[in-house]
């Protein structure tokens, strides 16, 4: 029976027989079998078999008493943690056993017991947890790991009984201030205090005096990576520098941690430094360089972390008018094997990094991606080219448009549709520059299928009807299907028909217009569409009657319906207050979504820059100065000059620069052979076949 799989659904009595069967005799082999039976309980809890398993409570208690094997204990505790929430009575009954474990000498057991007390939402247990914690911190030389667990347990208990935890917080303050406990315990106390302040909306933000902050920073080398990161996390916004000198000193102390392998440490130290940069008079060029290099080096991480870093790069690029980061665009070129979420994010980075110098290289890349197999990717890169054209100045737009026109020739329908869509935006910004290309665009009228590109195409045909001789013919492609279109396209068709009529009130346009108006009123049910149609109708009839009443002229109607359009601007900037908040949340979940904390996590507090006499009102005015320290200066110069020239030289770096004469050149020999298994080969095989057959072996 014990040879059965552990991970399968069992009935309670099956496990009971297992346990009883092997429970009595004290043979060694029984121990493992008994354990297996106990494991089945946990497996069944994972499978959601709570009803059956809760029956086993009394069986389990027997083993809890007699076994001192850690694994059995762990199973018992895990059981209570799960079942206790469902059956509080059982949790209460198990309390003495949990306390026995807490009073044992084994630290691991103590920790286990403490955590169980906290994790089961039953009042008796949490009360007991408070007592245990108080007894622990009052202990003269409490075991370290247990103390740390106790301190962190307060965080859970805070959700149950905030007032009571608050009463204990003075003990934590003492631990932090005294700096006499082991570093781990100090960090735990600090972190718990910080988190309690963060969690409770009615509490003031946590503040640390300057001296303590320096103490903590000097403690960093002794801590392991997680604790390092925790300290840097807590210090951000908690310590408020009052003098420039303090700020610079703290930056110096935090700088080395940009060089840890752990992304958590690097991003937290980056966050801390970015926070401190709100309280400086100048920024050193070398600092900017260090920050950028450490960010770039993180791109070597597994894809998920890479994704996080890239999202934070976007954040940092947005955060200042001219970003602090010095990043070469080539790091954001997409690799064929990148997961799609990284490709997307890199595309966004490229878009943000584009300027006059980098544009040619970026466009070349984007053109590549536009022919990518992944349709989404291809669309997004076309869209990016279009957005760049609108974002950058007039010189660059011609390059972007040239690329788009190239891609148009590529002729794949989704690329064409996307190009039509973005072209509308370009034409909105530069209404007169690309008139000549419009005829090229409208050749693809038949291809457009999606609502957005249809809309765009209709708009283009309407707006540039003066350069398209057969515009009505093209327009009819859409208007003839008016009643099977989506609402937004219907609106566009209606608008355009009216505009055509107003511009040139001929028989043809009038007929077209009236047909559509009538059709909408007769066949359509959508109230918006009907309202709009009626409005047009009435306006038009007003002008007909206006010759008598002079109520409204045809001219004024024209200016209302077909007026000048305002120019569009590309606005990628986020709200500065949102940016400020995001910068204090580097590396967290909101830095992925780039949204303020309050939009995603309603209960979390919004982080704000604390006031200080040296807080910079506008970080864009902050000067970035070259390094004046000689020791590494010579080398930096070399690098600077290189990075300046590198953008140019790298552009021309050719594969052919890397060459050496080969010592041995293998020549092609023979003719090309087909690599797949040619059916004709079979005919040459009979000899081997024959041999196999003739092998004298008895058939078995």
């Amino acid at each position: 029976m014990s040879d059965q799989k552990v991970f399968a659904r069992y009935k309670a009595n099956e496990i009971v027989t297992d346990l009883q069967h092997f429970g009595v005799k004290k043979f060694k082999s029984n121990i493992t079998r008994r354990k297996n039976a106990l494991r089945k309980i946990i497996a069944n809890l994972v499978l959601g078999n709570y009803g059956e398993m809760s029956v086993l409570f009394s069986e389990l208690l027997k083993f809890w008493q007699i076994e001192d094997d850690l694994e059995v204990k762990r199973i018992c505790h895990e059981y209570i943690r799960v079942i206790g929430a469902l059956k509080p009575q059982q949790a209460r009954e198990a309390l003495p056993f949990i306390m026995d474990d807490f009073k044992s000498r084994d630290e691991k057991l103590q920790i286990m017991a403490l955590r169980t007390l906290v994790l089961v939402p039953v009042k008796e247990l949490s009360d007991q947890a408070f007592d245990c914690i108080i007894s622990l911190v009052n202990h003269k030389s409490p075991p370290e790991q247990v103390t740390r667990t106790a301190i962190y347990a307060l965080l859970d208990l805070d959700e149950i009984d905030h007032e009571r935890v608050l009463g204990l917080s003075s003990i934590l303050h003492d631990i932090v201030k005294a700096q006499s406990s082991s570093p781990e315990v100090i960090v735990a106390a600090l972190h718990t205090l910080y988190s309690i302040h963060e969690k409770n909306a009615n509490m003031e933000p946590f503040r640390i005096p300057l001296e303590l902050a320096f103490d903590m920073l000097e403690l960093l080398p002794e801590l392991n990576e997680w604790n390092k990161a925790t300290v840097l996390e807590v210090l951000t916004t908690s310590v408020v520098p009052q003098h420039y000198l303090d700020t610079h000193e703290m930056i110096e102390l935090a700088l080395p941690y940009l060089q840890q392998v752990n992304t958590y440490v690097v991003l937290n130290s980056l966050k801390f430094i970015m926070y401190l940069l709100n309280y400086v008079d100048v920024i050193k060029e070398t600092l900017a360089e260090k920050l950028s290099n450490s960010v770039i080096a993180l791109l070597d991480k597994p894809p998920e972390l890479q994704f996080l870093v890239l999202r934070n790069v976007i954040l940092l690029l947005l955060s200042r008018e001219s970003s602090l980061l010095r990043l070469d665009i080539s790091y954001f070129f997409i690799e064929y094997n990148d997961p799609i979420y990284i490709k997307d994010t890199k595309l966004e980075c490229l878009y943000l990094l584009a300027n006059k110098e980098t544009l040619p290289r970026i466009l070349e890349e984007l053109e590549q991606y536009a022919t990518d197999i992944d349709i989404q990717m291809s669309r997004k890169s076309v869209r990016a080219i279009g957005n760049l054209a609108v974002k950058l100045d007039e010189d660059s737009v011609h390059d972007c448009v040239a690329v788009l026109l190239d891609l148009l020739e590529f002729g794949v329908d989704y690329v064409v549709q996307e190009i039509i869509s973005v072209f509308r935006n370009i034409l909105r910004k530069y209404p007169n520059n690309f008139k000549a290309n419009v005829t090229e665009l409208v050749k693809h009228t038949e291809v457009v299928q999606e609502p957005e590109s249809k809309n765009a195409m209709i708009w283009i045909i309407t707006q540039y009807s003066d350069v398209i001789p057969n515009y009505l013919e093209l327009f009819r492609v859409f208007s003839s299907n008016m009643f099977s279109e989506t609402l937004e396209v219907q609106f566009s068709i209606l608008n355009s028909a009216i505009k055509f009529f107003i511009r040139s009130p001929t028989k043809e346009t009038e007929e077209l217009c009236m047909d559509l108006l009538k059709g909408c009123i007769d066949h359509e049910n959508n109230p918006d569409l009907r309202d709009k149609t009626l409005m047009y109708w009435r306006l038009l009839s007003l002008t007909k009657t206006s010759r008598i009443s002079n109520a409204i002229t045809f001219e004024s109607l024209k200016s209302v319906l077909d007026g000048e359009l305002p120019l569009i601007e590309m606005n990628t900037k986020l709200d500065p207050t949102v940016l400020e908040e995001l910068e204090l949340n580097i590396g967290t979940i909101v830095s992925i979504y780039l949204k303020p904390v309050s939009h995603i996590f309603r209960l979390n507090k919004t982080k704000l820059l604390p006031q200080s006499p040296i807080l910079n009102p506008n970080k864009d005015l902050l000067p970035v100065v070259g390094n004046s320290f000689p020791p590494t200066g010579a080398n930096r110069d070399r690098q600077n000059s290189e990075s300046q020239s590198s953008t140019k030289s790298r552009k021309t770096a050719m594969m052919d620069d890397y060459d050496k004469p080969a010592e041995k050149i293998n020549q092609l020999k023979g003719k090309r052979k087909s690599s797949s298994n040619n059916p004709s080969k079979l005919s040459r095989k009979p000899s081997t076949l024959l041999r196999k057959l003739s092998m004298k072996r008895p058939f078995s």
Binding site: L305, D328, M654, I665
Partner: protein, 491 residues
């Protein structure tokens, strides 16, 4: 921070759940299964529903398990993903990365999580060696598990190179035998675990033979455009170290990076180079001449045991290593890269017969004495291809229809050698000119591995050990391994 950890099999069956918060409903695991595992459209490794966020990774080993965390507030994603990868590494060391094994021994993962995550789900200690030291059960292949870890990390970071599978480093056999190097390795490991300053190294380790193995692993990433210009090129390197040293040794080593090479040190080093002797590692002459200069490290990242203070002040890399294996540092180089291979493709589309004509030269640029292994050139062909007529000057080349590519493979490739491939594709009869013209031409990619060659030119100049109670001289070994990261050539 982390409210719960879930582990699913690759098919989406929940195998393990452990919660660190009592406010979570147990049924939350169904939500992730429905929203992410069973949803093919999901393209992001993070999902937030309401105020609950799921971060997930797929295990890089074994059965590609889903490792998932649940958080309820604005947690730090960097911490979570780092933690998940560490968990993956520890589970791998215990061979619990397979569904079947995990379904039997899931309690070991419970113990792991108890050690790695403190109260409130805050990661406290995730270092492989340290976690193993605290576990009541040791991995079956004790040292093997430790030794594999840096290479395992390598697999993590180089998702695109399948060649770097675990267990590829070759260790002398006697090493794997010594499984009980910890002195007091018994029940109460936490007793001798010195938490004071060096949390990663227990006191009183004794080895019969003191040895250090350094591995300089480099992956070169390069992207070449159609006209042969190099769009991007950089080298990501790691230095992995395996130490078997007695006592509490303080190791120190120097690289030929340009920042560290400013002082008289440099002259000494150059003089040493000319003499070609007296260096710590006798095999330095294998490193190509190009490496004799200095290398500009754009950035380096260190294991937590390296004293960052010292590095920033004097550019000395000094550390007390944990016993066993670890990734000591990572670095990034962009300038003056030694390219080991050059690919020159000429791909034309002959209008006559609807075929694509390939002429590709592959030339090795590393010294003739060295040779590369597992050289694979992956040459995409249009999807409509049914066959390829191939002729190669050496190696084997095969058309693989399921990948839409020709795979040109060399088991061994000597330095300074040039080989040529010539091939034409045969397309299905209904293929049109337009089909071939619109073919997106995915880049040609190259994989290789060259021993004792450094893409970046980085060289370890010296390695000294000043231990307290090491009586005999430690034996030091070094190995340079250069691999392709993503080596892509457009055409």
């Amino acid at each position: 921070m982390i409210s719960g950890v879930l582990v699913y099999s690759s098919r989406g069956e929940l195998v393990l759940n452990k919660f660190f918060k009592n406010s979570l409903k147990r049924s939350i695991s169904d939500i992730f299964r429905v929203q992410v595992i069973n949803n093919l459209d999901v393209r992001s490794p993070v999902l937030t529903l309401g105020s609950t966020t799921f971060h997930h990774i797929r295990s890089r080993h074994g059965d590609n398990l889903w490792l998932v965390t649940i958080t309820r507030s604005n947690a730090n994603s960097a911490a979570i993903w780092e933690f998940l990868y560490k968990l993956d590494a520890v589970m791998n060391a215990y061979r619990l990365d397979r569904e079947e094994a995990l379904k039997e021994e899931f309690m070991i993962v419970h113990e792991m999580l108890d050690i790695m995550l403190g109260g409130n789900g805050i990661p406290i200690d995730t270092e492989l060696n340290s976690v193993i030291a605290q576990m009541s059960v040791k991995p079956v292949r004790n040292m093997g598990g430790l030794l594999d870890s840096p290479d395992g990390n390598d697999v993590l970071s180089s998702s695109s190179s399948p060649t770097s599978s675990a267990g590829e480093l070759h260790f002398p056999k006697f090493l794997t035998k010594r499984s009980s190097s910890f002195l007091g390795q018994g029940d109460s490991t936490s007793d001798f675990y010195d938490n004071n300053k060096i949390t990663w190294r227990p006191k009183g380790i004794i080895h019969k033979k003191d040895e250090v193995f350094l591995y300089v692993n480099e992956r070169i990433n390069i992207l070449v455009s159609r006209d042969g210009s190099i769009l991007k090129s950089y080298v990501d390197g790691t230095i992995d170290i395996t130490t078997h040293l007695s006592g509490t040794p303080i190791c120190r080593f120097g690289l030929n990076d340009s920042l560290g090479m400013q002082s008289e040190d440099e002259k000494k080093w150059l003089a040493q180079q000319q003499r070609h002797s007296g260096s710590d590692f006798g095999n330095k002459n294998f490193i190509p001449k190009a490496a004799a200069g200095s290398v500009l490290l754009e950035d380096c990242k260190f294991h937590e045991c390296v004293s960052l203070d010292k590095f920033n002040r004097n550019h000395i890399i000094e550390f007390v290593p944990p016993d066993g294996s670890m990734e000591l540092m990572k670095y990034h180089v962009r300038d003056n890269i030694n390219l080991p291979f050059k690919v020159t493709p000429i791909v034309t589309h002959s209008t006559r017969d609807n075929e694509i004509d390939y002429r590709i030269t592959l030339k090795s640029l590393f010294p003739g004495k060295l040779s590369a292994k597992d050289v694979v050139l992956h040459i995409p062909v249009p999807p409509s291809t049914v066959d390829c007529k191939i002729s190669v000057s050496n190696g084997h080349c095969k058309f693989v229809p399921e990948e839409n590519a020709m795979i040109w493979r060399f088991n061994k490739y000597n330095g300074l050698t040039e080989n040529t491939l010539s091939a034409v594709t045969v397309s299905t009869s209904d293929t049109t000119q337009l089909n071939l013209q619109q073919w997106t031409r995915p880049p040609i990619s190259l994989e290789f591995e060259v021993m004792m060659f450094s893409n970046s030119g980085l060289v370890v100049r010296y390695f000294t050990i000043s231990g307290k109670d090491s009586k005999h001289r430690a034996v030091k070994w070094i190995k340079y391994i250069s691999k392709a990261g993503s080596y892509e050539v457009r055409y």
